[in-house]
Symmetry: C2
Subunit: 411 residues, 2 copies
């Protein structure tokens, strides 16, 4: 059978199509030819015409390039959902985010956005808790949640770790999170850390009358990850965190499928290796949509250009609205802002990202001149000021921890 054509600008995508949007820079071929090869390589085609193709297959499974914007180098492709295995995210990605990044006929290829057909969307579980479930669990109705990452990232032993967590909780933070490179270390064993930290969580809850959260990092080989998550559950923990990209989507699905009744917090280390260039790779928007479908309850999406990490305010806000939008009855994901934050960032952050966010402060808590507890107080004070619509400078006049933080880091 002679080579197929995939471009059909008159095609109207149906409810049974998965839609993917790409930015592509052709190399040595026309924009249209690059679109043809992109559509082929991500579906039923290859680089040459083949004897095993048939009109029947093409009719049923051929994707359609239905929109082209040459000025912006954009193309949108509608893929029939039959090209994908329901509930198998690795297979979907191997198709629409697979070999295509390596094709010689593009200098660069960016996977910009995706929308799933209803059948595919519903074949994943989505978040078990999401924003409403988490607010109910914490009994915090409106204000942003505030938390910390234990620092140094690694190096403390189990009891030291638990003590720092305790200081953060009694200082006023809701959440304490392990750092991404802290799992089961020779100097800080996973199980002992969980036991010690949850013990002091109970104490902090009793003393403050507030719900306190610990998010232990269970990122590991799949069976070991599940074993650790079950251990957390058994010890009375309510959350686990994983690093979704270094872990991988297969194991993330497995963790969600285990239905352990734990809130799943998604860290995203390594994402910027994929997402950072505007010309190549995969957008964080796509990764966020995938992660929501699979079923993380909380996801790091950036800090809207305050702090130490890249990511424009617009990009972060677009991601936040995407993981909160109504689709297939899937719960909204709690957006997490983290990376180089200090109390002085709180007004700008909440102005840009709203109050349905979790703000995580690492150095911005433990770097407080008077220590972790004072740092936690300063963060909570900043959140209070914003809720009361008082400027930080004004609020700092009567709140010394906040004043001290502002003196060190500004606002």
């Amino acid at each position: 059978m002679k080579e197929l054509s995939y471009i059909d600008l008159k095609y109207k995508p149906t409810k049974k199509d998965l839609i993917a949007k790409y930015r592509l820079e052709p190399d040595g071929v026309s924009f249209e030819e690059a679109c043809e090869q992109l559509a082929a390589e991500s579906s039923i085609g290859t680089w040459t015409d083949i004897c095993t193709m048939s009109p029947k297959i093409a009719k049923k499974l051929k994707p359609h390039v239905f929109s082209i914007n040459k000025r912006k180098n954009l193309a949108e492709i509608a893929y029939p959902e039959a090209l994908f295995e329901a509930g198998n995210m690795p297979q979907i990605l191997s198709s629409i985010a697979g070999n295509i990044f390596g094709m010689k006929i593009v200098k660069n290829l960016r996977f910009v956005d995706v929308s799933f057909s209803e059948k595919l969307g519903k074949s994943f579980q989505g978040p078990a808790f999401g924003v409403p479930g988490i607010r109910k669990l914490l009994k915090v109705k409106k204000r942003p949640l505030v938390g910390t990452i234990i620092k140094p990232k690694v190096g403390l032993n189990e009891k030291e770790h638990a003590k720092v967590a305790y200081d953060a909780w009694v200082g006023g933070l809701d959440i304490v999170k392990d750092d991404e490179n802290l799992t089961d270390m020779s100097f800080n064993r996973f199980e002992k850390r969980v036991v010690e930290t949850l013990k002091l969580r109970d104490k902090a809850e009793k003393e403050t009358g507030e719900k306190k959260i610990y998010m232990p990092n269970v990122t590991a080989e799949t069976d070991e990850m599940l074993r650790r998550a079950k251990f957390v559950k058994k010890c009375g923990g309510e959350y686990v965190m994983v690093d979704i990209l270094t872990l991988g989507f297969s194991a993330l699905q497995t963790l969600r499928k285990a239905n352990l009744g734990l809130v799943l917090h998604a860290h995203r280390a390594m994402h910027a290796a994929l997402t950072r260039s505007e010309h190549h790779g995969i957008s964080m928007l796509v990764i966020a949509k995938i992660t929501r479908l699979i079923g993380a309850d909380q996801l790091h999406i950036g800090t809207a250009y305050v702090g130490k990490m890249s990511g424009s305010a617009k990009e972060v806000i677009d991601i936040e609205s995407a993981i909160n939008e109504k689709s297939f009855g899937i719960k909204p994901v709690f957006a997490v802002a983290s990376g180089g934050l200090h109390p002085g960032h709180v007004p700008k952050l909440t102005k840009r990202m709203g109050t349905d966010i979790i703000m995580q402060f690492g150095g911005g808590v433990h770097g407080h001149p008077d220590g972790t507890r004072a740092g936690a107080r300063a963060v909570r004070q900043a959140a209070e000021a914003v809720t009361k619509e008082v400027s930080l400078k004004q609020y700092a006049k009567t709140h010394e921890e906040l004043a001290c933080a502002i003196e060190k880091w500004g606002c």
Copy 2:
């Protein structure tokens, strides 16, 4: 404690260090300052000095930037192995290939190379078969192995798929591989495909007197992947393939750990989203070393700049030698060349990559004007010509399938 310094050009890496090499382009800071922050963020530090750090922790866990080449933008860092959890690849990557890609103080960051300490290296299983095990299984001592990917990528039903595989085997190919987007489809169910295809494998083995290999694609959520791999084993299969990047390293470890006695073939769809830019992301060399440690037996590494995919000859040859080098008693990985190959590429490929390679032809088999069986013959003839040190043009004079392939695609 005041901020630490990580640069120490007099430091000599020890056997207990993991060494990582990065190319970095500072943004708004000096090269040295960027190196400091890179070392900090990937280990024990953060963006500000913190009260919870101690000299004891720093002494035990601090990495050393021991080599800087500002002209080439290169830095090498030695990380104490205690920073890592043995046998936990996601944790290792969250440290040395994690948040660092998103730091504002670098415009671009490339993870160029890695070498593991002996303890870390030995904490992974490595390939169960590797090159010697696979050659023994196939009873092919020296020549390159030749295979095909069933095309179209998806669309054939189970029996059609098996028939195309049969044609390829009796035409002379050793290996038949599912394509990366073919798993368990509505029109081609996994189990039925495996049964039908292995049935015709047995027939092809009987008719040709040669060992024939089928590599079914088990890429899926972890439990489902294992279930499918066990099904393959039960049906008498000897191989499975997975797509390592869309699957993820956690699940890859799980598959290897299951010790099913199956040869593991690693496809690498999506790799180029990470590897393609020379300035940013992660090199294929790093991914290949990781994949070998975990324990894939065969890995796609590129085609040395013939075919449809990017990747320079030098890069591919460097990767090939890395996955074959002696280290920690780990078996060498069979390098797979695949992507837009046809028989005319065989001399250049074997000249560049040697004969310990697996060459996979998709369109280059099924696109043969006389069909799959003739295409398979043409490939085998090309491999024979190279082994006999005869030019393809010369060999084509007495081998019509090869002549026909060369007429279509050149040589």
